[in-house]
Symmetry: C2
Subunit: 602 residues, 2 copies
């Protein structure tokens, strides 16, 4: 079976995926030969023995992890993630990587390898896979389950092709690049690291990882034997996860968390509400096991919790008797036998836990005696929202347990000793810290130097940087690819840019003032009194004085500019009035609303 | 001297402050007798042997600490702070407590006691002191220095009266309430706790505190002898700081931080840029001492850093030779002898450190070899902004040291062992956890129970709750005072309310769409094509299709409503059009902009 499977995916990696729909070719004949030049004509600037590595995302932010490996005519991409919005991006749902570089070379993409099923590694797929010409996607089994779910939501599941590999055995050939995998531990099962054998040398990409000798039931420890063997094969460069490079020691084992959770769950006097990450399957398995052992029932709340449990169970990554776990709308039974497993551990606005805290959850109303256990730790930037949720739950009478009070969570990323162990196992000539904030990668670099890697052999890169690997050396090119933020708001992908964000931020700070001028089309004289309408600016009733003053200033400004420049363009007139009014609002109120003059000709 | 001073302030506490300007009395004669009723007619509902305690701020948020103590006719207020804006309050600069309760009783306010000079305890003064009728303010010396600086910025320094007390000796009488003080440690010198002797019993309010047996040079440890003596006097209720109730152990001593900083400063290869809180005078003193010892120069950057150093030095709380410390515009000398002391440790938008990180600082440009030491820890909610600053500094080549890498900061608030020590010294019958988030106060309650205080004797209150103390008992009243958020935006105090914030948030999420309809005043028919102007919504050029559709929808909606209801009011027409368009933008783009129809009659 495995052998056949191998052949199957290998042959696919070379061909136009058969699922690629005819309309994709935009008028060109849909025979595979139409695309043969893409293999036979390597561009001048990339030699077949040089590997170019270009991060398109994930190095200037946490999220949208996407890394291009290009050798001659062959491109392999590792991960295609999304990012949650940053400060100053109101209304934005997600940010996806700018893949223009790949789109221009889409018929050279041999495959997209996904290291694990988290959104910051798979979330870009449904938005981008069509633009990239539906190149084949390769991942381990559970990862594929999460990708398929994403694609289904976009109605793309039949057009995209996902190939499942066995990380212990698969060897995939993508033209000049050969890929093999090794199991690592992470906060989701089936996470893998990647070995790329290229003419320029052997490259290792860890994905997100930690070492856990005792992961949750049915999961395996990272494959140290395999990693050591790879390390013995002369690795030129290690691209390694830096997220916890500031944390000393080893990351705590998942089963230690289970051991800590058990007495808390057993001793809870009332209901136990546990918030965690829905994809943290090992944690869920442990909660289910504890529930089964102590004859409690588990109720699931939150859409992604349902989806994850369903995917993981169907694929054999979660095991429990059917009557143990129910939907939250079946909530019932004695309080002390009730466990509610919910999303919202990051204080997300519309999540189940936030709705519980705001007394807006349809089925769960907090009562004294309830315990809320937040089995997660905050991602940077979410601390305020989480604290608000915790405060509200505490006020409703819940007893709160979180990672600041007890060890009820462990990270999915390796701490300093894990990172050093990876370096020691792989023994790379070059170290390229990836993932995590820049200052975390800097800390990872310090660890590398401690381990004896030369300072100049540890390379800190950012999105769009081009690393060139060849002749046993790695260096950052002077060239750089310019990348844009691709912002997603509702159904719109990339229709929001800097100007729109500027306007949103400006209006959010001080509102908008609309100045309505009706003028005579012939004489260009003002036809009526100027009207001022504002939103988010001041209470009009309370600020009549200021509004009256603004009307006068606007009128005077209109007279001035049309007198001075009788032929002034509309846009000039508007700008002149807006500048004058800006000064007025600053002087009067120390506020800078967006000012929008509107001229109606009659 | 002290004796005279005591009499002076005591007599003031009973009288209309002589500085109260005539215009304040609003037509009433400006003789002190005009206000005598305030002392002679206690309202029915407050008996002279009952103490009412009402927090007006500081218990539903971090900041705006303000607590009212009312006994018969006498009101004493402890602290009058401000708060920084919360999530969902774009454009708001500060929030101040709602003091309507006090304003209605302003001629009964005998005094405002300020426990220390941080903004969350003094920042409300310049905004509120006039509304409260300029009651006298009482504080220790350095605290008074910071209050005066605030008042000067508002031109109120001559009208407000500040009385300085010596915390070791002062006994102030405010009618039925007598106040004494005890020194505590905090992240600013001269922090005090307050003992209120009232007919209802003895009450202790700790202010913000920790115990530090070895504070920075010239500062004294918290006065354990004095606190123990107070504890021996039968304390009914202890109001105690809960900020670090989740942190185990004792808070680290300030001089340990100094000991950690010294080798870092000595061994830095290039310039040492230290960001800390400007009011953390003990930290600054230690940096100055290290600089002096190792023949380095200190350059100050950031307005509040200048102000604090000036105030503290003038009042004798900071000691250094004049040539040691210079303004940042004198930056020069060998890099290794250069220390830059800057504001911005919280990643504040326009702070000096943020400007350095964004390459916008006039004098400080980061170069490789520079070390940035963040001698502070993040306040909840600031983590993202701080990480951004750290990333930018790291990218510019700076070596970064912060409290996640080394012990370069200690909190000003007591950890669990400090809190337990305070309870043990005071031995109160009742414990009222104050300050900090609600879940921190809940953790403080757990400590109190551990210490043997009865569950029902530990009372968690929120803003507006009324605690009634009398006959050896404390209970929360069923009544509650309704409090509003008083928002400050620019020069406007309280002119921004829920509606304005709603509009700002809505526009920040999806922008605004202005629909311009010109109609014939007589026929009420549309006179021209409908115009659509948007800001923060979509690129108009890229979204012509949607905009055209919206025009059609608006036109049809106008026809419909005017046909169905020929006499429809303008507001109804506008609402009808807005609703229709809202559906369109949701269907087409999944966005909900603020929709603003504007009808111009011709």
């Amino acid at each position: 079976m495995k052998e056949n499977f191998q052949k199957h995916v290998t042959s696919h990696a070379h061909r136009v995926p058969p699922s690629r729909p005819a309309h994709f070719y935009r008028g060109r004949p849909s025979s595979p030969h139409a695309h043969s030049p893409r293999i036979n004509k390597p561009p001048h600037h990339i030699r077949g023995d040089v590997l170019r590595v270009i991060p398109l995302g994930g190095l200037n932010e946490v999220g949208q992890n996407t890394m291009v490996f290009e050798c001659g005519n062959d491109i392999v991409v590792i991960d295609l993630g999304l990012q949650f919005p940053e400060i100053g991006m109101p209304g934005i749902d997600y940010i996806i990587p700018d893949t223009a570089y790949l789109e221009q070379r889409k018929n050279r993409i041999r495959g997209i390898i996904i290291t694990h099923g988290h959104l910051d590694h798979i979330g870009g797929i449904p938005y981008l896979i069509e633009k990239l010409g539906f190149p084949p996607i390769f991942s381990a089994k559970l990862t594929a389950g999460f990708i398929k779910k994403q694609l289904e939501e976009f109605g793309l599941e039949r057009r995209a092709k996902i190939h499942i590999f066995d990380p212990d055995k698969a060897i995939l050939r993508f033209g000049r690049i050969e890929a093999a995998f090794f199991r690592v531990n992470h906060s989701i099962p089936d996470a893998v690291g990647v070995l790329l054998k290229t003419p320029a040398g052997n490259i290792v990409h860890t994905g997100d990882f930690k070492f856990d000798e005792t992961p949750a039931r049915d999961q395996k420890p990272a494959d140290l034997q395999h990693i050591a063997k790879i390390g013995a094969s002369n690795v030129l460069a290690l691209f390694s996860d830096s997220t916890n490079a500031l944390e000393p020691g080893r990351t705590m084992s998942e089963t230690s968390i289970g051991a800590n959770l058990e007495p808390l769950i057993v001793n809870a006097k009332g209901r136990m509400i546990i918030a965690s990450f829905s994809s943290l399957i090992g944690r869920l398995q442990q909660v289910f096991d504890i529930a089964l052992k102590h004859k409690k029932k588990v109720f699931l709340s939150g859409r992604s919790m349902h989806d994850s449990v369903e995917i993981a169970r169907n694929l054999g990554y979660l095991r429990y008797p059917a009557n143990l776990v129910k939907d939250i709308n079946h909530l019932g039974g004695p309080d002390k036998d009730t466990i509610i497993l919910t999303t919202g551990s990051q204080g997300e606005e519309f999540s189940s836990l936030t709705r519980i805290a705001q007394k807006e959850h349809q089925f769960v109303k907090i009562k004294p005696g309830d315990t809320v256990l937040i089995s997660a730790s905050p991602i940077i930037g979410n601390e305020r929202a989480i604290s608000n949720v915790i405060n509200n739950l505490a006020k409703l009478g819940a007893n709160i347990i979180h990672d600041r009070t007890l060890d009820v969570h462990t990270s999915g990323h390796g701490c300093q000793e894990d990172l050093k162990m990876m370096i020691d196992l792989i023994k790379p000539k070059y170290l390229v810290p990836i993932h995590g904030e820049y200052f975390m990668r800097q800390a990872h670099k310090a660890l590398g130097i401690e381990m004896g890697i030369k300072d100049e052999n540890i390379i800190l890169i950012e999105n769009g940087d081009i690393l060139e690997l060849g002749a046993g050396k790695v260096h950052a090119s002077h060239q750089k690819i310019k990348l844009e933020h691709i912002l997603i708001d509702g159904y719109g992908v990339g229709d929001i840019g800097t100007q729109i964000l500027y306007e949103r931020n400006k209006m959010s700070e001080n509102g908008i003032v609309i100045v309505l001028l009706t003028i005579n089309a012939k004489t260009r004289k003002l036809n009526a009194k100027i009207d001022i309408i504002s939103r988010g600016f001041v209470f009009m009733q309370k600020s009549e004085e200021v509004i009256e003053k603004m009307k006068k200033v606007a009128e005077a400004a209109y007279q001035e500019i049309t007198k001075k420049h009788p032929g002034a363009k509309r846009s000039d007139i508007k700008r002149y009035i807006a500048n004058k009014l800006q000064k007025t609002t600053e002087d009067q109120l120390d506020r800078k609303p967006l000012i929008l003059p509107v001229i109606v000709e009659i």
